[in-house]
């Protein structure tokens, strides 16, 4: 069971997820402190350790639009959160897949902060409202990276295959 801890609307940009002024900070170990920095209440809860890993951010359409900054994916991943969105912008989705941030595309999702969700491969069941919603599976090209544990191990395997060294 995963609890919804934050809800945002449509077209939430990477500027909102990880404001540009923190972009000189790049390492995934350092970015989580600035996650949703301009949403002060949520950011403070994260930094005080009040949000459990495995909790859910629910978003509308086109989540993560805008800049390609990978910090926007790494800062959410760093807190162990899951993103459930109606749709996700291409670059953010690819960054999430590459870094192992769990994303779920659920076009009709209805959930409020505090709701408990059961996330299955093909559907989300909102245990609070009793409703369930269809999940769109990731395309096979992205699923392969997810199953490899992210792009770094996936690329490392390719590199070793190419340079004639046994993996």
């Amino acid at each position: 069971m995963a609890k919804v801890v934050f809800k945002v609307g449509d077209d939430v940009s990477t500027d909102a997820i990880y404001p540009g002024r923190y972009m000189a900070t790049v390492l995934p170990t350092e970015t989580p402190q600035y996650c949703f920095a301009d949403h002060k209440e949520f950011n403070e809860k994260l930094n005080k350790g009040e949000i459990e890993a495995g909790s859910v951010i629910v978003a509308g359409n086109n989540f993560g639009c805008g800049s390609s900054r990978e910090q926007a994916a790494s800062c959410i991943k760093g807190w162990g959160l899951i993103v459930v969105a109606k749709s996700i912008a291409r670059i953010f989705l690819q960054n999430a897949v590459n870094l192992g941030l769990q994303t779920v595309i659920c076009p009709d999702v209805e959930a409020e902060v505090g709701d408990e969700l059961e996330i299955h491969p093909d559907k989300i069941v909102n245990k609070t409202s009793g409703k369930s919603f269809v999940v769109i599976p990731h395309a096979p090209a992205r699923q392969a990276i997810i199953e490899a544990g992210g792009l770094i191990p996936y690329a490392r395997k390719k590199l070793l295959q190419e340079r004639g060294v046994a993996a």
Partner: protein, 430 residues
């Protein structure tokens, strides 16, 4: 069934006769571009090589471009240290297309690549910057990727697991009215398509307006294609592309004029008549919140910004100078100009545009992205409003979530600088 331009280029990149939307490929990369976020790419690149026993070497140092533009000169020790780390990596790996913080060859990455002839028709170009779509203006399939994806490109020379996107054909017809610019066209298109209308799609631009448009204008449309969510925004190369590459970018080698098939299959065809288009303004806080200038005229503006990878080229600065010649910028408004490259800055100096803009009261800054994304120079105060020729107006974009950003063409920005309120540039700008 024929192929779209993107399908042709993707097929070529994997040595196949054809590909179709949905195919998963590992396209070979012609050019891989990064800016200061190369600091993160380097980190991820070393991670890929970790415990492999292999020495971390990039696949081809001549195909990697690194341009310092996001925070130049460095605004903090942290950025300075990132830039230093990148310089060391560039030297160690022998990366040749490296553009330092310099007045002679520096500038904004999306201007540096075209003006140096690094991008050619038919190429696969990836960049760790979402506005890498810009290079579609020269007939390259160009798209933005994250730092980890770039690290894999540096290691392997290919982009892994790319799904061929379907293509939307955009026909643009009609002669642009005076004081209406390519920026107004692309804002209008984004308003129509919405911010996610092009998500996982390629836009391919056609029509009489495009045919008559300079490369500088095409770069604006391709640049902002990503604001409709598009993977890439492509212009089939033509005589103008060839002229630009030969005359402005100094390209000597043969140019491959790769074009879509006449019977290419498009997911959708959108036709736009621009002969009666009004200047357009994207209102806060999304780029698709587009209105004709007449609906927002009179809005008080605290800061005008002309420049960036979208509208910092010579023709953009020229129109601003033409409008501001002999005029003064309104007292309660400030105006910042960011030429897109050192080369453009000097051309604008030689043409007298810089003098004109400074006489009017503008502050001419060095080339850079910092103001547009709120990381360096030109931050807004609480409650302030900016009118900018840049490409994004998201909440917080110009460094303050309690401020607002409107987007427009250089002509609208310059006309509004005189009055201090959003002004239709067709009204004589006085």
């Amino acid at each position: 069934m024929g192929a779209t331009l993107a399908e042709k280029i993707f097929a070529k990149s994997v040595g196949r006769p054809s590909v179709k939307p949905g195919d998963v490929l590992e396209p070979s990369v012609g050019l891989a571009m990064s800016h200061e976020n190369a600091a993160l790419v380097i980190n991820q690149f070393k991670e890929i090589f970790k415990d492999t026993g292999l020495e971390p070497r990039v696949w081809d140092p001549s195909r990697i471009a690194i341009i310092f533009d996001h925070r130049v000169p460095a605004e903090s020790a942290k950025t300075a240290n990132n830039q230093k780390k990148i310089r060391e990596f560039v030297a160690q790996q022998g990366i040749t297309k490296f553009h330092e913080i310099r007045g002679d060859e520096g500038g904004i990455c999306h201007q540096i690549l075209p003006e140096n002839g690094y991008v050619r028709p038919g190429m696969i170009v990836v960049g760790t910057d979402s506005h890498t779509t810009t290079h579609g203006a020269l007939g390259a399939v160009a798209w933005g990727i994250g730092a980890t994806e770039m690290a894999a490109v540096w290691a392997l020379g290919r982009v892994l697991n790319v799904e061929v996107p379907p293509t939307i054909k955009i026909n643009i017809e009609g002669e642009l009215p005076p004081m209406v610019a390519p920026k107004d066209i692309i804002l209008h298109i984004i308003g129509k398509l919405t911010a996610q209308g092009g998500n996982f799609r390629v836009l391919e631009f056609h029509g009489s307006t495009v045919k008559a448009m300079s490369t500088s204008g095409r770069l604006v449309l391709a640049n902002m294609s990503v604001e409709a969510g598009a993977t890439s925004g492509l212009f089939p190369p033509d005589e103008e592309t060839e002229r630009y590459l030969r005359e402005e970018a100094g390209v000597k080698e043969p140019i491959e004029m790769i074009t879509p098939d006449p019977d290419a299959e498009y997911e959708k065809v959108v036709t736009i008549d621009v002969s009666k288009l009004e200047p357009q303004v994207a209102c806060p806080h999304t780029v698709d919140n587009v209105k004709p200038v007449s609906e927002v005229e009179g809005r008080k503006i605290d800061q005008i910004v002309i420049g960036s990878c979208t509208n910092g080229r010579l023709d953009d600065i020229a129109i601003a100078a033409e409008i501001l010649k002999g005029k003064k910028i309104a007292r309660n408004t400030r105006m910042l100009v960011f030429p897109a490259s050192g080369r453009i800055y000097r051309q604008a100096l030689e043409a007298g545009y810089i003098q004109t803009l400074m006489d009017a009261g503008a502050v001419v800054m060095n080339s850079g992205c910092g103001c547009c994304l709120g990381v360096h120079q030109g931050a807004l105060a609480d409650g302030e409003v900016a009118l900018s020729t840049t490409n994004r107006n998201f909440k917080g974009r110009m460094g303050n979530p309690n401020a607002e950003v409107y987007l427009c063409s250089p002509a609208t920005a310059a006309a509004s600088a005189i009055t201090g309120v959003i002004t239709d540039p067709r009204k004589g700008a006085c």
